[in-house]
């Protein structure tokens, strides 16, 4: 009897210890998860000090933000939308706050779709979006929508493939991979583009967004443009993906999906791909060159794009031998007619800051974005005058 009881006791101890260990594991993993997004946030303090000092001493002459125009501005505005531009917006807002401490600006992500409907509903004063307002929705806004381009960045096609250090893909091959027509890495359609590389005979796992996303819009726009008949799914913030593909949440989720599984491929915004240390494929642009995802490639794509009178443009598959073909534009949209004159002034301050000091190339590059071409920034700056109070 004693012996049995003793055995029970030791079993219990073991089970108890196991449970505690399991709990610790869960907790530590949870903590790891909660800190990693913060780790990805740009360290704005050092940047902030640097550029602020510049604007105080007037060293940034080429892009100078005229602080005197907005001195002492006391206002409160909020925005929501595109997560693609969120890191840039937050860093810029922090920076602006150091010179205009009474100006309070918040930016909540939520996605381009959310931002557009928030602006239409009058919930926010400005919205971030990677795609244009649909013509049929224009009437839902309480005024005309003004587009202010802010920065651009490439969308990388990232992959995880042991032993493969360079991968070249063109539009049709990408379209066939993402529509699950090609299911193995050693398929002829990929091999013919990579004669130097030995491709493993393992299945392709496609990682893509499960949530509605501007990144999906721009990536599928490229597949639609460059993939031709191989891409039957069109372009939208959610598309009817073939059933074998894996959906993940957000750019970070897709990056994790790729990093975790050998043989996987997916599209991720530049900063998340860099944060995960993912390899990016060289993509064939419209000039026939294979181009690596880079900020200079993104800038080249904007140089090649046609800019409309309303400052909308489409850098996807833009001409130019240096252009990276899957480059995403992003805009801040505001209504041309504002009810409140202080809020209008706050919007002018934010936008002119973004389009002047915010275009500083070391600043944008540290956040993994490319600045606008100077000519486009100047045009956008001039458009600020169209924000009226009425």
């Amino acid at each position: 009897m004693q012996e049995i009881r003793a055995r029970h006791r030791s079993q219990t101890v073991r089970v108890g210890l196991g449970a505690v260990l399991a709990l610790l594991l869960v907790v530590s993993v949870a903590c790891g998860n909660s800190t990693s997004p913060q780790g990805k946030q740009p360290t704005t303090t050092s940047l902030g000090n640097g550029t602020t000092a510049d604007s105080n001493t007037g060293e940034v002459q080429s892009t100078g933000f005229n602080l005197a125009d907005f001195a002492g501005l006391n206002a409160n505005i909020k925005g929501s939308g595109s997560s693609f531009q969120q890191n840039y917006n937050l860093a810029t807002i922090d920076l602006l706050h150091t010179v205009l401490p009474e100006l309070k600006i918040t930016y909540a992500g939520g996605g381009s779709g959310q931002g557009k409907s928030d602006l239409a509903d009058g919930v926010v004063d400005f919205a971030g979006t990677d795609s244009l307002v649909k013509p049929e929705d224009a009437a839902k806004y309480n005024g005309q929508v003004l587009y202010f381009p802010t920065v651009v960045a490439p969308i990388t096609v990232s992959y995880e493939l042991d032993g493969v250090h360079e991968l070249r893909l063109d539009g049709p091959a990408l379209a066939q991979i993402f529509s699950a027509k090609i299911t193995s890495w050693n398929d002829e359609a990929i091999a013919v583009l990579n004669p130097q590389t030995e491709l493993p005979a393992i299945p392709i796992t496609v990682c893509r967004r499960a949530d509605a996303s501007g990144t999906t819009t721009n990536f599928t726009k490229f597949l639609d443009a460059a993939g031709g008949a191989d891409w039957p799914y069109g372009s939208s913030d959610t598309v009817d993906w073939p059933s074998g593909t894996q959906g993940a949440q957000g750019n970070g989720g897709v990056a994790a999906c790729i990093a975790k599984k050998s043989g996987s491929i997916g599209y991720v915004d530049f900063s998340d791909a860099k944060a995960q240390g993912l390899a990016g494929a060289l993509i064939q642009n419209s000039a026939g060159e294979y181009v690596e995802a880079s900020l200079s490639g993104a800038s080249a794509a904007v140089e090649g794009a046609v800019i409309g009178d309303d400052l909308t443009f489409d850098p996807i598959n833009a001409p130019g031998s240096d252009a990276y073909p899957i480059t995403s534009p992003t805009w801040i949209i505001v209504l041309d007619t504002q009810r409140d004159s202080t809020k209008a002034e706050a919007l002018r301050a934010l936008l002119s800051f973004i389009l002047t000091d915010g275009q500083d190339v070391t600043f944008t590059q540290s956040l993994n974005y490319a600045p606008l071409p100077a000519e486009l920034a100047t045009r956008a700056l001039a458009q600020i005058d169209q924000i009226k109070v009425g």
Partner: protein
């Protein structure tokens, strides 16, 4: 024992007023539940109506959910919800029963309290934590294991992964309630059975489980309710394909996961109404599960416990 005279409670005017006020407050509280329920039903149905009107019966029978085609059919999502919940139950219920029987019948009293505390702690972990652990930690491992058994096309983000993560989530809840139910089985039943020479196994199957079956069924149904409605954890690991497939190592979607995934979409169109329609469907399914649970409990009550 202290005897409280009825007069001291209701005899004085103050006492009576207090009694009345208490009744009124509880009445309002009770009615507020009904009002809340009615409000939720009315709001979701009215918001969902444009979608139900435009999709007709296809909302229930179509397997296509596409904002590009403006076709919204919930069948594949209902399938995903049912399959992931069933996997979760099959995996979680035996373990939960084992855990609670171990704690109440097998383990020595000294270790009971810490184990119970751990079970309750597990039951209180937010679901998103399970989802993140599933997506970031187990996703890859599951894919490797699945591919050994189910062939090279098996996916780490799949209906099976979602079912397993759900089972992690609901196991502690079922175990926690089952343990309390078993603890309330009167000691005489146990002692009587042991006195008749029953083994521990016989005591459990003949004296404890029949008495506790109502509560255990209730615990399982509560777990099922959580599995059916779980949103974020499932959205993170289910793979978000919209399909009906017998191969559970393939990605799928549940009603709750697609609500989480698509609610931030372009949004001005009819998809939001359709998503709200899924909310109504989930509501109805939960109602059916609850009523079925009541019927099962009522039946087992008659069948298992001799009067």
């Amino acid at each position: 024992m202290k005897v409280v005279s009825p007069n001291s409670l209701t005899g004085t005017r103050l006492g009576r007023a207090r009694e009345l006020a208490f009744s009124a407050v509880t009445l309002v509280a009770g009615l507020s539940i009904l009002a809340l329920l009615a409000g939720v039903v009315a709001a979701t149905v009215s918001y969902a109506w444009p979608a139900i009107e435009s999709q007709g019966l296809g909302f229930l029978t179509s397997t296509t959910w596409s904002s590009q085609q403006e076709t919204y059919g919930a069948l594949a999502l209902i399938y995903g919800t049912v399959v992931t919940s069933l996997i979760a139950l099959v995996a979680a219920v035996p373990v939960a029963l084992g855990v609670s029987l171990f704690v109440t019948e097998v383990c020595s009293a000294r270790f009971r309290a810490p184990i119970v505390a751990i079970i309750d702690l597990l039951a209180a972990i937010p679901s998103v934590v399970f989802g993140l652990v599933g997506a970031l930690v187990f996703g890859e491992a599951f894919q490797v294991v699945f591919r050994v058994f189910a062939g090279p096309t098996a996916n780490g983000s799949s209906l099976l992964t979602a079912g397993i993560i759900l089972s992690f989530m609901i196991m502690p809840i079922i175990a926690s309630i089952t343990r309390e139910v078993i603890a309330t089985v009167p000691g005489q039943y146990r002692e009587a059975a042991y006195a008749l020479g029953a083994t521990r196994w016989e005591v459990i199957t003949s004296a404890i489980l029949p008495v506790g079956i109502n509560g255990i069924t209730g615990a399982v149904m509560l777990g099922l309710g959580r599995a059916l409605g779980e949103t974020i954890a499932v959205a993170l690991v289910v793979g978000s394909a919209i399909q009906i497939t017998a191969d559970v190592t393939q990605p799928g979607s549940t009603m709750a996961s697609i609500i989480a995934n698509r609610f931030n979409g372009e949004g001005i169109g009819i998809e939001r109404n359709a998503l709200m329609g899924l909310g109504v469907l989930l509501f109805i399914i939960t109602l059916i599960v609850n009523m079925a649970a009541r019927v099962i409990v009522a039946r087992t009550k008659r069948g298992m416990i001799p009067a």
